[in-house]
Each structure stands twice: as C-alpha cells, then as structure tokens.
C-alpha cells in the first residue's frame, strides 16, 4: 500500500464563464510516473498552475502528502517540494547555464547578505558546494560542456533539458513536466523520455508528465489520466487508455493504435 503524494479532490477552476478544469479527481502515489494527456485546451497546463499555486481552485481541494495547498503562494508550494517546468520555457536568459541551476538550488544554500558582502568563509564554502552539485546535475543532463554559456544561446531541445535540471536542483518530491519533448524530433523525444524515467528512479521523485508524443507517453508512464474540456474522461494503465472508446473518440483517433514502438 503506497500513500498518496498528491491528491486532487473534485478540483475545479472557472475563468469567468469558462470551466477550464472541473470536478477533477487525481491520486499520485509516491514514486509513480503519471501521464496527463488530452487535446489542446483540455486544461492540462491549468492543472499544473492549480497545483503550483499560480491559480487557486474555485472548487475542491489539492493535497500534498495530506496537507492542503489551497491558497498557498507559489514559492511556498515549491518549497513544500513541488518542482515544475513550463510549456513556454522560462529560463533566466541573462544567466549562464550553470547559474540557472544554481538559482534552482538557492533555497538550499545558506548564505546571507552579510556573507556575500563580507566574503565570509561560509559564503565561499557554500559556493563551492553549489558549484559541485550543479556540475554533477549538468553532467547528468549532458549540459556540462555548456555550463558557462548564456542560457539563451542553447538550442531549443537543450533549453528544455536545462529547465528540468533547474527544477530538480530544488530537490523536489514531485516534479511536474509540461510538454518537455515539445519541439523535439522523435529520436530526441525518445532520449528525453528515457532520461525522465531514469531521473524518476535515481532521484526517487514522483512525476506528473504532460506530453503529446503518444508513443513515448504510452511507453514510459505507469498510469495515464485523460482530460477533455477540463473534465476527466479516462484513467488507467497505458493499455486501458489505448483501448478506451471515449479516449479514441475524443482525442486519440486512429493514432491510438500506433502504441509504443
């Protein structure tokens, strides 16, 4: 019996007359790699924004390890152990690749204004430790050679990788990935999906993944939730989802039989 890390209970939000998400139930046990799929505008990104405190649900509740996240500010949600990436990549363009990751680690660095200004021994020890940890993380993501490059000089696919590395630097319990393979070719996407699975196993992190590359989602996720018009239309194992008539009708169409290679 594994306990729930994240739980959405009849969660919903309205934007004026639009119910972007409604009545959504979702349970993520610790350690799961869970897929969230659905057509464009189905409400997937909105679910991430609800969980991370960017939006507050107008209905229902969201629990992290049993504690309600309702009304908790985004920075506090992140500090509680939820890391995320963004569909429209949000890197710090003026910073180098490694500095992006160091900002991710910031909340674990104990270094005050006075440490910085007076160059105390603690300040230098903290910097050395951060540098080492960030380099290790960058190596994992194949970005070490680019550590000192400006983040906005990276190719598109590498930016997405960097964003994941930055989110992992916060040492999250739950990682939300919003279309991490968007804009990648099939082979890059495939590599990334294996990396994501490896990350889950190595960092022992629970992952909720939004992704459009159907074969890879079906290939690596243990469970999948399908949204349409803000509502859950199916949940189950990849095999169940692939065979679900509602899913086929609403979203997957003929593609559903493509399955994993």
């Amino acid at each position: 019996m594994s306990e729930a890390l994240l739980e959405l209970r009849k969660t919903g939000i309205r934007f004026g007359g639009l119910r972007a998400v409604s009545d959504l139930d979702l349970v993520l046990p610790v350690g799961v790699l869970h897929g969230l799929i659905g057509p464009n505008g189905a409400g997937k990104t909105t679910v991430f924004n609800l969980v991370t405190g960017i939006y507050e649900p107008t209905e229902g509740d969201i629990l992290l390890a049993g504690r309600s996240l309702k009304g908790v500010a985004p920075a506090k949600v992140a500090a509680a152990g939820i890391g995320r990436t963004f569909q429209n990549i949000r890197l710090f363009a003026g910073l180098s690749v490694i500095e992006n990751v160091k900002v991710g680690m910031h909340r674990h660095l104990e270094s005050t204004l006075l440490d910085a200004v007076l160059r105390t021994p603690r300040y230098r020890r903290v910097e050395v430790e951060a540098e080492e940890q960030c380099r290790t993380l960058l190596e994992t993501f194949g970005l070490l050679a680019l550590a000192e490059q400006p983040a906005d000089s990276l190719a598109y696919g590498l930016r997405r990788r960097l964003e994941i590395a930055r989110a992992l630097a916060t040492k999250p319990r739950l990682l939300l990935l919003d279309e991490p393979a968007a804009g990648m070719n099939p082979s890059e996407a495939d590599d990334l999906m294996h990396l994501i699975r490896w990350v889950r196993d190595t960092f022992e992190v629970t992952i909720l993944l939004i992704e459009h590359h159907m074969p890879v989602v079906m290939g690596i996720c243990e469970r999948i939730t399908v949204l349409d018009h803000g509502a859950l239309i199916a949940e189950g194992s990849p095999d169940e989802i692939r065979r679900d008539p509602k899913v086929i009708e609403a979203y997957l169409g003929a593609d559903v039989h493509a399955g994993p290679a």
Binding site: G94, A116, V117
Partner: protein, 317 residues
C-alpha cells in the same frame, strides 16, 4: 581563504589610492576640476544603487532622487539637531533612506509590473512637497549652516565601499536571484524563492546608497535645497543606467561619469550645452540600444580587447 583575502586586499588598495590622491594630488589640483570629480562621485553612489534595482533586478524605480533627499535631510537634521558629526550623519542618511526604501518597497513590490514606477514617482514628489512645507527642514529656502566635510577622499571612500558592496552582492547567490527575478519572476517563484523578499532587499540596498549619496551632498556646500532632489534628477539617473547597460555595474558607472561631467565640460559652449547633451543621448540610443556595455562588465570588454590585440598569441586563430 585566498579569494576572501584578495577581496580585502583590493579594498585596502583602493582606499589607499583614494587617500593618496586626497593628500598628495587634490591640494595642487584646480578646485574647479576637484568639484566636478566630487559631483561625479556623488552621482556614482546613487547610480550604482539604481543599477542594482533597475538593471539587475528589473524593478523600474522612478524616484531614486527621493531617497537621496531622505538621506540628505536625515543627515542634515541629525547634525543640526543632535550634533551628529558628518561621518555619523552619512550612516544615518543611508539607514533612514533604507528604511524609507523598505516602507515604499514592501507594499509596492508585492504587486507586479508598473505599480512601482507610479508609486516611486509619487514618492519623489511627496518627499519634495513635505520638505518644502516643513519649517524644521527649512522649507523651500533649504537648510543652511551645515559643516563642510565632503572632500574627494570622503566621497570616494563611500564610492569604493558602495561599489564593492554592490559588486560582491551581485556575484553572490543573492545576485543570481536578483537577475532571475528580472528575467522571469514566475520561474523564480517556482523554485521556492520568495521574490518579493528579493526585490525588497535590492530596493533597500539601492535606497541605502542613494541616502549616502544625498548625505554627501548635505555636507558639501553647507546647505541643501529640496530643488536638488526633484524628479528630473531621478530621470537622469534612469537614463544613466539604461545608457550604461542594464545588467552591468560598470556600464552605468561609466555613463554616470560621462553624463555628470558632460555639462561641465561643455560649459564653454554653454548655449549649445543642452543640445549637444541631447544629441549624445539620442546617438547612444540609436548606435547602442542595449546601452554602452550591454550586460557586460568593463573587465570583460578589456579582457576581450587584450586577447584581440595585434601580436597576441591567440589559441583560437
């Protein structure tokens, strides 16, 4: 250990240079030139604070001269009414301005976007009106009878301390957070960082050094007037940061040096002064829209020039 010792070594060296110049060069220098240099130094202190707030943290403050006014009048009042000596008055000016920065920043920086510009603009105006209508602060006639203490040495001691303070801050983890806030506040929050706190911190540090700058003005010519801290001064400082390059510390300082000295240098052709001044500004905007140094530092640029010098043994031929 080594790095820390080096930082203190640089500080000692710079201060020794400042006081060497004060003792051995200033007495034989044309007072008119010394006057220009001191005015430049005073502007440098204000502009380095604004470079932190605007250039590195991305917060559009339009009332930096208001914090100079707070620093100047707090220092002056501490001396006139409590007998605080000038060096103490400079600290008082910085601290009171920092407090004002906290008061203005905390409620405003929670909100995103343009509120700060509007509120700081209003703050600058309100401070001036308050001073003009306060008999204890001399009203529109200003405060007189202050001791004269702002020498080249004192001014540039403050410039060195302020410059190293802000530089050390910028290359520290907090400095990275300031830039992260500027580049993408939502992403910064998603990493568990309290961005309001970071913005308020940058704002308070910027206000502190503006206050020190104002206090130096108070002790320069034995009197201060509210008209010295009007809105046009705030705008001029924004121009210095933007022209020097947002995301650079040395760029704005160079711009501040040039723009503060320019009106003086152009005094012989006084009637065309404002025209030339404007043309330089417009030319800069067209030729280098990212500012003089963009987001680079002077040291990077010099390093690159050095590597490109004729006869340099280049590894990347």
């Amino acid at each position: 250990m080594r790095q820390g010792a080096l930082a203190y070594g640089i500080l000692a060296l710079l201060l020794a240079a400042v006081w060497g110049i004060e003792l051995f060069l200033v007495p034989w220098t044309d007072p008119y030139l010394t006057d220009i240099v001191i005015r430049v130094g005073i502007n440098l202190l204000a502009v380095m604070g604004l470079a932190l707030v605007l250039g590195f943290t991305g917060q559009f403050s339009l009332g930096h001269a208001g914090f100079m006014a707070v620093g100047a009048y707090a220092a002056a009042a501490s001396t006139l009414y409590a007998g605080v000596p000038p060096v103490g008055g400079i600290v008082v000016g910085g601290l009171v301005a920092a407090l004002a920065g906290f008061g203005v920043g905390l409620p405003t920086l929670r909100l995103s976007g343009d509120y700060l510009a509007v509120v700081t603009l209003g703050f600058n105006g309100i401070i001036i009106v308050l001073i003009q209508n306060s008999p204890a602060l001399g009203g529109a006639q200003g405060l007189t009878g202050l001791p004269v203490a702002t020498t080249f040495g004192l001014t540039f001691t403050c410039v060195v301390l302020g410059g190293l303070f802000i530089r050390n801050l910028l290359v520290s983890p907090l400095g990275r957070v300031f830039e992260a806030v500027r580049d993408n506040e939502i992403a910064t929050r998603s990493l568990g960082i309290d961005t309001t706190r970071a913005k308020v911190l940058a704002f308070v540090v910027g206000a502190f050094w503006a206050g020190v700058s104002g206090a130096l003005i108070a002790y320069y010519r034995s009197s201060i007037f509210p008209s010295q801290f009007q809105f046009d001064r705030s705008i001029e400082q924004v121009a210095m940061v933007v022209l020097g390059g947002t995301g650079s510390l040395s760029g704005p300082l160079i711009a501040a040096t040039i723009l503060s000295a320019l009106p003086e240098v152009l005094r012989p052709v006084a009637q065309y002064r404002m025209v030339i001044y404007s043309i330089v500004l417009i030319a800069m905007m067209i030729l280098r829209p990212t500012g003089l140094l963009g987001n680079h530092e002077l040291s990077d640029v010099l390093k690159r020039l050095w590597q490109k010098r004729p006869g340099a043994r280049s590894t990347a031929a």
